[in-house]
Structures are given as structure tokens and as C-alpha cells.
């Protein structure tokens, strides 16, 4: 893995394209509020609760031209789709789950441990599977050439980690708590602090990428990506729990976050499918 060389020039980097940032936060809030109100009305009228983000969600401006307009086509998974690629210790060194030891010095920021389990929709642990994470540093800066906002790069923090789940589906990362960062969806847009997670299940149809958030973030209600999930219970599933049992004495605070993949359609469903 070779991180692209970060460019340290911040000259004019905060000068935003006015056309891209014309909308105010109030405008975005109103759009989100209208969509959510219509959703709640639908649920009260007996429509199904939503558990996943809308892919057609206009307050997230980048989604306008990037979402299919036709319904997803329902089909039964076949052959290859009922299996997932295999990963193991050959692919991932055990030290890759510690994002604080990848350089010569200690990264700046609040050291945290994030741990949890990867489960399928039937509660089975997803064993020996790949979990990948990436995140901004404690100043809200990504090691990516397209992230040019004027916050410092930390030479001791890349923000990339990998792990292989244990027999009980467990994973654990040691990292630094990321900070919020600004983006150009609208004027004065800030993302809540988050860690990106990439996950595999036992079936390729369970493949997913998501974001884990931290409890109590004041930016939640303002963020069109988080709010693209219209249901509060579903949104809550992306928020880790502060866990004092994971916190360690004079070392790191701890968070717990379990991830549930969609149901497996593999043969082991059959004995449970009698109903």
C-alpha cells in the first residue's frame, strides 16, 4: 500500500467554488426535514420501516446524478453470489489493526479502541473475514491528495487499518479519534466524525461499506449523508457505544460497535427456513 504523497500546500485551498456551495445549511435542513416527515407519515399509514439509506437523497448533492432511477431488480442469488472471497492471516498482518504504530512516533490525538462483532442477519458470527477501516486524523485531515482543507497532516498517522475477524466474529482496532471535517455539499457543511468500515460476509451479496459514528455528535442532524437513512432506529445502528469496559487504565478510551450484515442465503438457511 503506497499512500499518495500528500501535498502540503494550503494556498487558497479554503476558497470554495461558490456555485457548489450556494445552498445554506437551513436549505439542506429543510429538505431533510421534509423527506423525513413524509417517511414518518408513510410508516404511520402502514408502510414498511426503512433500514438502509435512500440512494436517491437530494440533500446529498453528489447523489443527484449517481443513483439509479429504476427499481433494483429482485433476484435470487446464484452460485458465485452465495459465496464470498476468502481472506486470512496470509492477507493481513496482526499489527495492521493498530493504526497508532505505523510510523516512528506516536500520532497526536485521543487514543481509542474500537471493537465489536460482525454478525449475519441470523446472529451467526462472520468468522475469518476481512474488515478494513480508514479515517481522518485528529485534526480532521485525510492522507489523500484530494483532501486539501487547511488542517495539519500528522506524519505519524495514515489512518488505514485491517483485521481478520475471530471465530466469534470479533474485530478490534486501536486508533485515534477522528475529527469532523468540512466538505462542499453546501455552505459551511461539516461531516460528523466517523470511521469508514468495509465488510465482507459469507455471501458476496452481504458485501458492504459503511461509516461508524461517535455518540452525541452535534453534527448528526446537519449531515445529509447520515440523514439519508430516514429512520432514527436505523441511524442509531451506525453510532458506536462508549464502553468503559473497553477503556483501559491510563491508555485508551473504548467504544463498542457490532455490525449486522444482511441475511445469508447459503444452504445453512434451509434448516431455519421451515416457516
Amino acid at each position: 500500500m503506497t499512500p499518495e504523497a500528500p501535498e502540503e500546500s494550503f494556498e487558497n485551498s479554503h476558497t470554495l467554488d461558490p456555485a457548489a456551495t450556494a445552498d445554506s445549511q437551513d436549505t439542506i435542513n429543510q429538505e431533510i426535514s421534509d423527506i423525513h416527515a413524509a417517511y414518518r407519515k408513510g410508516v404511520e399509514a402502514g408502510e414498511a420501516e426503512e433500514t438502509q439509506p435512500r440512494i436517491d437523497f437530494a440533500p446529498y448533492r453528489s447523489s443527484l446524478l449517481r443513483h439509479p432511477t429504476k427499481d433494483l431488480h429482485h433476484t435470487d442469488p446464484e452460485t458465485i453470489e452465495l459465496w464470498s472471497p476468502a481472506f486470512g492471516q496470509r492477507d493481513v498482518h496482526i499489527l495492521e489493526s493498530d493504526l497508532t504504530i505505523q510510523h516512528n512516533g506516536e500520532p497526536l490525538g485521543e487514543r481509542i479502541v474500537v471493537r465489536g462483532r460482525v454478525l449475519d442477519g441470523d446472529g451467526r458470527p462472520v468468522r475469518n473475514q476481512l474488515v478494513e477501516i480508514w479515517q481522518a486524523n485528529a485534526a480532521g485531515r485525510y492522507i489523500h491528495k484530494r483532501d486539501q482543507h487547511p488542517a495539519p497532516i500528522d506524519p505519524n498517522f495514515t489512518g488505514v487499518g485491517r483485521a481478520i475477524t475471530g471465530d466469534d466474529g470479533s474485530y478490534q482496532f486501536t486508533t485515534i479519534k477522528p475529527a469532523p471535517y468540512p466538505w462542499k455539499n453546501h455552505h459551511n457543511a461539516w461531516r460528523p466524525a466517523h470511521i469508514h468500515f468495509s465488510l465482507f460476509g459469507t455471501d458476496f451479496t452481504q458485501r458492504m461499506i459503511t461509516q461508524m459514528y461517535f455518540p452525541g455528535d452535534p453534527l448528526f442532524s446537519l449531515d445529509p449523508i447520515y440523514q439519508s437513512i430516514t429512520d432514527q432506529k436505523a441511524r442509531d445502528r451506525l453510532v458506536a457505544t462508549y464502553d468503559h469496559n473497553v477503556t483501559s487504565h491510563e491508555w485508551a478510551t473504548g467504544y463498542t460497535w457490532d455490525i449486522v450484515l444482511s441475511g445469508s442465503n447459503r444452504t445453512w438457511m434451509e434448516d431455519e427456513d421451515a416457516h
Binding site: M1, T2, P3, E4, Q52, P53, R54, Y60, S63, L65, R66, H67, P68, T69, K70, L72, H73, T75, D76, P77, E78, T79, I80, W83, A86, G88, Q89, R90, D91, D120, G121, G123, R124, L130, E132, I133, W134, A136, H144, T158, V160, R162, H196, F204, T205, R207, M208, I209, T210, Q211, I225, Y226, A234, R237, L238, I259, V260, S262, G263, E272
Partner: protein
């Protein structure tokens, strides 16, 4: 099994965002086989948006059987030794939305089944991943009998069948939105 059979609700997905480029791609990620491997082909195409413009920040993954239709469970995708076929690959599109995998034609996993490659699409601006299939164009009888393809009108069906180029490569463009948008799939329980 003593584990609970109560259904758990799936965790929501979120967009891959703009900054995965330093995190997820890795050396030889798009080379399921070495270019010199007998029977190697290029699977390539362009990812476009609702205006027909290329999307420069999309990431694709493929998952497929080997040439004999065997589904492999070999580890080692992330370390690519040029000998182990793992069946899985990943690629970040380039600045003009173009992607390339070096792979082999998958065989039929069962006699009479139309061979296809499973493909998943992530992108900035795409709030959840999309699944589709890349069918090989040759076995027209198997294609005609394929349950998914048979359930689609012709103008939709053809978005799932790759084009075989004269040199043996496969061309498969992905249109996220528009009149000719690619058919994207949902599965039970997803």
C-alpha cells in the same frame, strides 16, 4: 446450533466517500491473474453518471469462478503471488472513469448455467453499494434460459451482457443513471 434464530436488522450502508484512494486499493488489486497467464483477458469499461459523464471516483470489485466453473476459497487476494487464483479483485477507476481487471473467463458453475461475474459498485455520491452481473456473451442458449435475464425486457437485459472485443477482451460499461442505466440487483434479505 444453539445460536439465536431471531432475525437481526442489518446495519445501514453509507457512501464510500471521496477519500478511499489511499486506503482500499493495493498493489495488483485488479490482477486476478497475471497478464501472461494463458487465457487471461481484460475486463474493462467506463462508469458514467446520469449525464453520461464519466465518474472518476468509483471503486469496483468482482468475484467469479475460475475457467472451469469452480468457486475457489483461496486466501491471498491482498498479497497477489501471481500463482493463486482467488476469484476476487478490486479496482479504483481512473480519472476518466475507466476500469480494467485482468482475469479469466469464468466457466459455468453448473452444466447449462450462463457464466457470469458478480460485480459490486461503490462511489462517492452513491449512498449504498450496487450489485450487478457481467454475463459472458457466448452461450446464447444458456443466456436464453437464465432466470434473471429472462425476467428482463430486451433493452434492460442487454445492459448485463458484456461485449466480446475482437482481441478476446470483455467490455462492460456501467451506467448508474439514465435511459440505458445498468440493471442493479437486490437479493432476499438484503
Amino acid at each position: 446450533m444453539t445460536e439465536s434464530t431471531a432475525k437481526l436488522v442489518a446495519t445501514p450502508g453509507q457512501t464510500i466517500g471521496p477519500f478511499y484512494g489511499y486506503a482500499l486499493p493495493y498493489e495488483k488489486d485488479n490482477q486476478l491473474v497475471h497478464r501472461a497467464h494463458p487465457g487471461s483477458i481484460r475486463l474493462h469499461g467506463v462508469v458514467t453518471d446520469g449525464n453520461g459523464d464519466p465518474i472518476p471516483d468509483s471503486m469496483l470489485e468482482i468475484w467469479q469462478a475460475d475457467e472451469n466453473g469452480r468457486i475457489v476459497q483461496e486466501t491471498g487476494s491482498l498479497v497477489r503471488d501471481d500463482h493463486t487464483f482467488t476469484g476476487w479483485g478490486r479496482v479504483a477507476v481512473d480519472n476518466v472513469g475507466h476500469y480494467t481487471f485482468t482475469t479469466v473467463n469464468p466457466g459455468a458453475t453448473e452444466d447449462g448455467k450462463a457464466p457470469f461475474i458478480s460485480l459490486v459498485i461503490f462511489a462517492r455520491g452513491l449512498l449504498n453499494r450496487l450489485f450487478t452481473r457481467v454475463y459472458l456473451p457466448e452461450d446464447t442458449e444458456a443466456l436464453a434460459n437464465d432466470p434473471l435475464l429472462a425476467s428482463l425486457p430486451e433493452e434492460r437485459r442487454r445492459t448485463l451482457v458484456a461485449e466480446r472485443e475482437p482481441n478476446g477482451d470483455l467490455r462492460f460499461d456501467i451506467r448508474l443513471q439514465g435511459g440505458d442505466e445498468t440493471v442493479f440487483l437486490s437479493f432476499p434479505g438484503v
